[in-house]
Amino acid sequence: MISYLVRRILWIIPVLFTVSIITFILMHSVPGGPWDRDKRLPEGVQARLNAQYGLDQPIYVQYVNWAGQFVQGNLGPSYRYQDRTVNTIVADGIGTTVQLGVMAFILAVLVGIPLGIIAALGHNRSPDYLSTSVSIVGIATPSFVLAILLIVFFGVELRWFPTSGWKGPQYWVLPTIALAGFPIAQIARYTRASMLEVTRKDYIRTAQSKGLRDRAVVVRHMVRNALIPVVTILGPIFAFLVTGSFIIETIFAIPGVGRYYITAIGTRDYSLLMAMTMLYAFAVAFMNVVVDVLYAYIDPRIRYS
């Protein structure tokens, strides 16, 4: 088990390496640069800045420079926020982003899984229709629509919660719900499908014919088995949530790092963009390892050696 884990974690390194090379090449092949402004910077100033930041070097030299700094934990200067390094930008925001992501994840699991179970147990009856409708709406509603609806209804009309900011628990409610909306629907649909699959298995019939009570059959036999495929998607969902959301963080003015996925592309803030990509790549790769380990606990048939 330990050696398996070590092997899996070491495999993350070539994954990150590949991701970094592809991103680096794509990023630099897009026209434009970090000094583009509607009011153009004097050419001399642009040239000077390029020289200062090493952007006048051939791209492979730039990559080697970047990679050399990266392995030492130095993410480089931000091109857009010139008084700050990428390290401080990420350090300032990552805590908030992870907190929001974890809260949204917990909410998504606590709501999504029961919703799926209820739907499956009431298959083709009103609980199923209700739950399925909720998840279809959840899948189909983009988060920015949900966020604006929440702000208009609970912020502007009812004034129960502030429309934006991040200064205390009352500020957490709307963004958490808005961020959890899509994963709730996703988890509910997976859980329902998985539960329906399990319901038809022989061991469920066996359990029922043994005279076990319904509750015991559902909890001990159905849910536990049905959750295996669900856990598979929980990994990526968790990685997605804790690395932040551009839309939610922008709309609610949350001081996290999620917004930089988009803004760093728009402003050609190369070092920040690399940092964010590496962060996301690491989160996804790492969560896949975690999910594989979790399988071993949920499904006794899976053993790693």
Binding site: A47, R48, Q82, T250, R268
Partner: protein
């Protein structure tokens, strides 16, 4: 036009009246209101007792400021905040006339090339005296190519500055010793702590106006070179407020500067900036009472103006800003892609395109009717504005005549023969309906087809600069209200912001002559000649002078809005704003 302008002024007056005027005994500047018209002055003057106990103002900066280093700042998000934090030698009054700032007086030499400033006694927020040497340090730092300051170009009139500006892009890069030698020769000096002398290389009378910019403020060397100098608690302020806290990407708070030397002391105890870049969320926050002042997003303007509650809170202020579309004049020989100039190189073709556009209909359809039709470039309110300059008004018959001439000259039988013209714009900024309006007008008038190319901002700018489009969206906001800033560099041959690839040596000669003219009336006449030449050439398609739509909560008073506001109305005078009882 007259009517529209009057309507705007009336709106201002009404809003000011609704704000209950703004005069208090403690704030002399507040007695001079924008559009200080009869209704505003006859409104009951609030006294101290009308002030709310809570003097906290919540506004938006529309995004995280990229930097608060005064020499390096260039984005509106930074400028709106810096206007509370720093002040220079001279400043504006609410009518944008030049008034003393840290310089209590100044002398201009007979040849208008030497400016001598006499400083007042003043201290920074940290208690250190503000001395002339800090201006010398700041100006040299601004020009120093190693600083790579985006606004370094505004120093070009200082004696010795052009050499330094040229060094910025020199290849190979000049040595530190070379740079230092040039800096030492720069025409900025401090004979004593209270006197600053600036020598210019040309009698540039507009240079005083440029000195109001946030880049020309005093900077203490020991402060700006200290680590994290621009973070909260470290920022050394020369303005009415200090930087109290800065939660990056979320909120930034200013508090009154105890050492503030100005006459108008802030009544506000805190000035909070929301650092969010989503205008719709700002609008929602305003409606929820969390913001006291906001900009109304274009799609909301009609609803807000018609709203019984929000409508009276609307404040519409003409800006020193213009929306124009560039025709590619294909006259910049540096750009190699012009082996075969497109039809927009033909003057009759450009005139035809100009006369085919009903500008008022364009504004009504795509800007909710907000803004003023532009037929020239220098904005209303800036000396050099030419209200009567309109050689090519909307006239379809004349447009078709010019198109016929253009077709004959270019050897085509119909406009469709040109194929699709490349029409570039940046996406995600609401330009789509505007581009569509223009493209459709040209299609209907001439059967001219365009390929509307929407790109990400950086890609769009790169392509526009390289002259890759026949027609491209553009806009310009005045750095300072002077015709030089509107014409020089934008329409001079190979100018830094010349995106219409226009080049007319006569125009360049007039601009150079105007810059050197010390007499203001003669100077304006020269700028007018230059602008007339450029507009007669139909170098660009001017469309709209911007009017910004804001909402100001009724209990906010002392908002001295000007056309130079970048994000919030009255931001030039944050210290004048007060919260009334509500």
């Amino acid at each position: 036009m007259q009517k529209r302008l009057f309507g705007i002024l009336a709106t201002v007056a009404i809003v000011v009246a609704a704000c209950g005027g703004a005069t208090t005994s403690s704030a002399p500047a507040a007695s001079t209101e924008p559009g200080a018209s009869a209704p505003a002055e006859s409104a009951p003057a609030p006294s101290e007792s009308n002030l709310a106990a809570d003097q906290i103002l919540n506004v938006t900066a529309q995004g995280e400021p990229p930097t608060l280093d005064p020499n390096k700042a260039q984005d509106s998000n930074s400028i709106t905040i810096l206007r509370g934090l720093v002040r220079g030698l001279v400043y504006f009054d609410k009518d944008l006339k030049i008034v003393p700032g840290l310089a209590s007086s100044w002398d201009i030499s007979p040849d208008a090339k030497t400016l001598t400033f006499h400083l007042r006694d003043a201290k920074y927020s940290n208690g250190d005296p503000i001395v002339a040497g800090d201006f010398v340090y700041s100006f040299k730092r601004l020009i120093d190519p190693r600083t790579a300051a985006p606004y370094s170009y505004v120093t070009a009139e200082i004696d010795g500055a052009p050499d330094l500006l040229a060094m910025a892009g020199a290849d190979p890069a000049p040595s530190d010793a070379t740079i230092q030698a040039a800096i030492d020769k720069l025409g900025v000096s401090a004979p004593d702590d209270k006197t600053l002398v600036i020598k210019l290389n040309t009698p540039a009378s507009y240079f005083l106006t440029a000195l109001t910019l946030w880049v020309f403020v005093p900077i203490e060397k020991k402060w700006i070179e200290s680590p994290n100098a621009t973070e909260a608690g470290n920022f050394v302020s020369s303005g009415p407020f200090v930087l109290d806290s800065w939660t990056h990407n979320s909120e930034l708070t200013l508090k009154p500067n105890p050492n503030w030397w100005g006459d108008v002391k802030p009544t506000l105890t805190a000035l909070n900036f929301f650092l969010r870049s989503d205008p719709e969320s700002d609008q929602a926050a305003f409606e929820a009472g969390e913001l006291d002042i906001t900009q109304t997003p274009s799609p909301d303007i009609q609803r807000v103006v018609a709203d019984p509650v929000l409508g009276p809170q609307v404040l519409q202020i003409p800006q020193f800003s213009i929306t124009q579309y560039d025709f590619n004049n294909f006259e910049d020989p540096k750009l190699k892609s012009f082996k075969t100039p497109g039809p927009t190189a033909n003057k009759d073709f450009r005139i035809a395109l100009t006369q085919a556009i009903d500008k008022q209909a364009f504004i009504d359809a795509t800007y909710a009717g907000v803004g003023q039709v532009a037929n020239s470039f220098v904005m209303p309110g800036i000396p050099g504005y030419q209200p009567d300059l309109n050689p090519y008004p909307f006239d379809l018959a004349s447009a078709k005549d010019h198109m016929t001439k253009a077709l004959a000259a270019l050897g085509k039988s119909s406009a469709a023969d040109f194929g699709k013209l490349k029409f570039g714009f940046n996406t995600g900024a609401g330009h789509e309906p505007r581009v569509a309006f223009l493209a459709e007008a040209w299609r209907q008038a001439f059967g001219l087809e365009t390929e509307q190319i929407g790109s990400d901002f950086s890609v769009f700018l790169t392509q526009r600069t390289a002259g890759q489009y026949d027609i491209a969206r553009d806009g310009w906001g005045a750095d300072y209200p002077h015709a030089n800033n509107q014409l020089n560099g934008l329409f001079t041959c190979h100018g830094g912001n010349n995106d219409s690839q226009y080049c007319n040596p006569d125009f360049d000669a007039l601009i150079a002559q105007a810059a050197a003219e010390p007499d203001q009336d003669k100077q304006v006449a020269l700028y007018n000649q230059a602008q007339t030449l450029m507009i007669d050439d139909a170098a660009i398609l001017p469309l709209r002078f911007l009017t910004q739509t804001y909402e100001v909560a009724p209990y906010v008073s002392g908002v001295l809005a000007t056309g130079s506001d970048s994000v919030s109305p009255g931001e030039l005078f944050w210290e004048s704003i007060q919260i009334m009882k509500h």
